[in-house]
Symmetry: C2
Subunit: 403 residues, 2 copies
């Protein structure tokens, strides 16, 4: 049993409270890895003398954060490409200098299993440092069928070795560079459908994601791949409307996708469709910041009734960060979200996106994941940006960071 007492502000995200379920002078009790009590200290149960106690000394206590969109398994550095872009190089110049996604594919193929597992574990360590206890994790830096299944297997190994609860996703990122003819491309999509997606479900993938955009998969290819994934029992995700508007968000809504990603270029009819379908919109401010794209219009999506989650988009090219709190800051500063909406976006909404109904809330029966923050209230975590305020992280009732 773990009891956290002296909490200055507690966010339970309980569905029957105010929007965040705020309590002051609160206590959380975790038994057998699950929340037994979370609420006002005066209503807390009597604690046995052998309970492990943490005095929060007035700190903010929230559920563990849920990362709904990450590409954590890759090798190599694209810092040179970052510098070229900063100095004004065009996309073509970056490609000519050996940059872009294929640089990561080459480095990832050349890396040993041990190297990939070690670097992915280090990235999860940094996510955990910043309060994340549940994390979606995509393959995507091999491109071919065997290579993507290798990355899925390695994500399984990482999951067994880390405190973070990983939710693996098979990603169809872009067609491999050897698919130059239409026939080769059709052959690749067919192999991905028949082999990768079928095998992925058996190899521990919970979801399938496809990148539908200019330079990636077409809308027809996306439809075919999603159909196969649905038939295999995988949850569906779609990278949609990032650089160009392809209609992928409408398709995702129509096919009952669990989430859509990016949405920088989304149009109003698709917004209404996503709201009706209950598809979670995973917005990724880190990519917009890094690539100098327009910010995703979180305000408009929330006002239209969409479920909005925030992710880091952790990846080696367009968003190299493990700080989900910084994404909250960016959403409040630039995307029109209030602090309460930003907190919901990295807890209950992100938990929906990752299919973890028992995460993102501190209510009786939920998983015993929580974070104590060096902050007096929840708004300070969004305001005080770029520094890590997560003081203590608890996963399943075990203290895994701080104390």
């Amino acid at each position: 049993m773990l009891a956290v007492t002296g909490i200055g502000e507690l966010l339970t995200l309980a569905p029957d409270g105010d929007v965040l379920g705020v309590h002051h002078d609160a206590t959380v009790v975790i038994t057998d890895g699950k929340v037994a009590f979370a609420g006002p200290a005066r209503e807390a149960p009597a604690l046995p003398s052998d309970a492990l106690r943490i005095d929060a000394r007035g700190a903010l206590c929230t559920p563990g954060l849920v990362e709904p969109h990450a590409h954590p398994i890759f090798a190599g550095s694209r810092a040179g490409e970052f510098d070229l872009r900063a100095r004004g190089a065009t996309y073509g110049e970056i490609q000519a200098a050996g940059g872009g996604i294929l640089a990561t594919v080459r480095a990832t193929s050349a890396a040993t299993d041990e190297e990939l597992v070690a670097s992915t574990l280090a990235r999860l360590d940094r996510l955990l440092d910043h309060g994340v206890t549940v994390c979606e994790a995509k393959t995507g830096y091999s491109l071919d069928v065997d290579g993507e299944l290798r990355l899925l297997r390695l994500l399984g190994e990482v999951k067994r070795r880390h405190a973070i609860d990983l939710s693996p996703t098979l990603l169809a990122h872009v067609p491999p560079p050897d698919c130059s003819s239409g026939e080769e491309r059709r052959g690749f999509v067919e192999r991905f459908r028949a082999e990768a997606i079928l095998a992925a479900a058996r190899a521990g993938a919970e979801a399938f994601d496809v990148y539908c955009d200019a330079g990636a998969f077409t809308l027809d290819e996306t439809r075919a791949l999603l159909g196969a994934a649905r038939a295999s029992g995988l949850a569906l995700r779609v990278h949609a409307e990032q650089f160009t508007n392809t209609g992928a968000a409408d398709l995702a809504a129509a096919m009952g996708a669990r989430s859509v990603e990016h949405l920088e270029q989304i149009a109003p009819p698709a917004i209404a469709a996503l709201a009706r379908a209950g598809t979670v919109c995973n917005l990724l401010p880190g990519a917009a910041l890094t690539l100098r794209l327009p910010w995703p219009d979180a305000r408009r999506l929330v006002d239209a009734g969409c479920a909005v989650a925030l992710g880091t988009d952790l990846n080696p090219g367009s968003s190299l960060t493990e700080s989900l709190p910084l994404m909250m800051s960016l959403a409040c500063m630039q995307m029109g979200l209030g602090c309460a909406e930003a907190w919901r976006a990295v807890t209950v909404q992100a938990a929906r996106s990752v299919g973890r109904g028992d995460a993102g809330r501190l209510v009786a029966g939920a998983r015993g994941d929580l974070v104590l923050w060096d902050a007096g209230d929840h708004r300070e975590v969004a305001q005080h940006f770029g520094v890590n305020l997560a003081r203590t992280v608890v996963v399943g009732g075990q203290v895994v960071r701080g104390g």
Copy 2:
């Protein structure tokens, strides 16, 4: 003696090397608090057996960072105002809700000396965590003469108690709210000139800064205050052209100011004047991000021959952050600086801005301040954003963070 060996990439910022003075497989030796050697390992002097050694294990090693613009001494939280702004409140609504600079002035006046010293020390701890070893620090949250001198005295106490080398600045922030008539206002400016500025030089201030903008001091008031400061031997700084173009940057150049701050709204003739005068342009991306202002055009300033430094602008309202590395990321992502220019902006250029000629460089005779980073090369520190990659921080040859 401290010897750092096994450095994968060393930035010396030596004036005779390439722009960053890069060496691979390098060593740094610090004796009596000063750099005795910094360069290729094969050229390093023989080390006595009792030298303290740190093996960098291939890490990046740079000079300690220099923060050229911070408001670290204040009390109270403006997280409520942050949330209001995020949800679209106007400036008037925020003022009506008790927000704005006067909220901080009230909280700072109500705080005890001990509280102010403790919270300022905690902010310096976070700056040091992120690699800062020299920091400019402004008063400014009292407004009246006695209160500003109190803050200056407390900054002196903080300086004595912290490893960071603080450079205190007296700031004329905005006229106090009781200066409603023209006569009262003239009286205040005259008192500030005759009393605060004179006393500040004796109380340890190295510089005087004035905020010239709509709602703050006029150009004529700014000229009068700067004249008095120059006569008192203080270095001059000017908050110029942030919200409106007042001509303050031209004035600063004409008066030989050491630095100008913000510059979001600067016009081309003033840019040329700043370049000619050698006045350092302290750009503050954290404020532009927080307030959704246009980004300062660092590219244009550098191309015009200006010296550009980057600061956090650490303050409770418009930029609550202690991460100078994040400012480098923002400058590369949004303001057109290459990684090498961003590094110069937080080392040699910032050191000029703070009047520390022996900081921001690792050359024989410079101060023995350095940082080891969890990064293979200098570009990764800018690319990998929002997480703290500073692994070890050394001040004057003493290890003060990590090891």
